[in-house]
Amino acid sequence: MSALADRVDRASGGSRERAARVGLRIVQAGPVLILAVVALAMSLLSPFFLTERNLTNLGFQTSIVAVLALGQLLVILTRGIDLSVGAVVALSGVLGVMAGDSGPVVVLAMALTGALVGAVNGLVLVKGRVMNPFIVTLGTLSIVRGAALVVSDAQTVTGLPPLVLTLGTGLAGPIPVPALLVAVLAVLAWILLARTQWGRWIYAVGGQPDAARRVGIPVDRVLISVYVLCGLAAGIAGLLVAGRTDAGAPTAGQLLELDAITAVIIGGASFFGGRGSVGNVVAGALIIGVIRNGLNLLDVTPFWQSIAVGTLVIASLELDVLRGYLEQRLRAAQTRSAEA
């Protein structure tokens, strides 16, 4: 096989192969590049965009979607999806206000609510042999939203402990506390995915589920774990929403699940599983935030924000297609050089 290696080494100097390799790098950095371009455009178009006040505001606006997107990324990496996270934001808010006056108790109750719904999602998916996360979480979306309405008697209740208010609206210097929370969660998610054995298994399960089972990866437990973590993230997002509004509302978080999924897709994760990174997904959430914030500053009606974000979603899918094409080119180049 050493002769083969020599040929591969020599052939990797081929210009077409190098072009494909560079192209692949660019696609992989796509979301960060898009964020840079969008932010640059907004700062040129509006003198207010780069002001401290606006960036602080942007931090508040983006953090909720960013937390949800981090959870959603874990699930999408395993070829899954979690539609229930918006409803979890509502249920955890409602239960949070009912949990009393103690800050830590309320925080714990809200986070646990999310993790519990996530555990139900994961267990039904794995043990119920349904194996269709779209349907399972569509069901729990409805159930959890209904539960939030039942428990709260459809009433919004105000009044949360100071700890929760700080998490939702606090400032550390010019930096919003929720943005700091996003940073901490992003680092934790990055360590899990990029540095631990369990994280490697999450990618493996998304890449080739049958092979994962055959090589001895506990696929079911990996799946349950990502839904629990996604639910936990939704509970934490519920904390931020409740803290920001100082209320637990059974109607909170509607359609937030779509924002989260949008951020993950714009963040370059593949809907077919196994590909995606924490940094890019945070960039994805920021891209949505910057577009909305910037267009607001420019006095463009919100209707156009929706059109802009939607266009970007489709463009991101095309980037995924381009990635597949470039990989195919590379594979073909390597096959050619192996047979030469």
């Binding site: 096989m1 050493s2 002769a3 083969l4 290696a5 591969v8 692949l24 360590i191 899990l192 540095r195 631990t196 054995q197 369990w198 490697r200 298994w201 990618y203 493996a204 998304g206 890449g207 080739q208 049958d210 092979a211 994962a212 055959r214 090589v215 001895g216 990866i217 196994g274 590909r275 990989e327 590379l330 594979r331 390597q334 096959t335 050089s337 192996a338 047979e339």
Partner: protein, 247 residues
Amino acid sequence: MLEIRDAVKSYGAVQALRGASLQVEPSEIVALLGDNGAGKSTLVKAISGVHRLDAGDLLLEGEPATFRSPVDAREHGIETLHQDLSLFDNLSAVANFHIARELRGPRGLGRLGLLRERAMERAWREQLERLGVRILDPRQEVGVMSGGQRQAVAVLRAVAFARRLVILDEPTAALGVRESRQVLDLVSRLPDQGIAVLLISHNLEQVAAVADRAVVLRQGRSVGQAVPTADNHETLVSLIVGAGAGP
């Protein structure tokens, strides 16, 4: 070292194995031959822990053994290269090589332990050296590799971690002539490392080149064995297709 006696296995109404026997000695290369549907894959799946036999004995070092799962078989030193390769296109060559056997630390963290990437790359290079193979960028994703390179990663993974026996199901299926020869060279060096090989192949010339012994299955039964030399070619073919089927 490994022996299977009178193995029987049915899938519903289909009897895949109806009394197949097979023996592999330490450091021996045994070829398993047979037409499509002769029961080769079923027998292999029983040895590698994917399926369990309905009846018959599996003996490891003379002791009765049952492999409840592929992991169980691997813990007994038996590695299998399945025809579908079981590779992960989205992971690097070295990640594929170590999959589910990652080196990690510190100890207390268990499966949340941190991956020791450098140690894994070192281990990969050591294995390549031990097996006399020098290929591939360890960090390249398997998905962008050629068919031959992918096959090489899968063969290496099976071979490197085997302690007793490596089962190779059509290891040269996707390969050109030159790459096939490289894989066969590697296989023929394994007995020096104390590892036995069970080789499933359609290619009688390849079998003749490396195997010490060929066992033939037909319609779920072992119907004979021979030393696979060029002279025995006709004998093996008639065993494979059935004596009555000849002219």
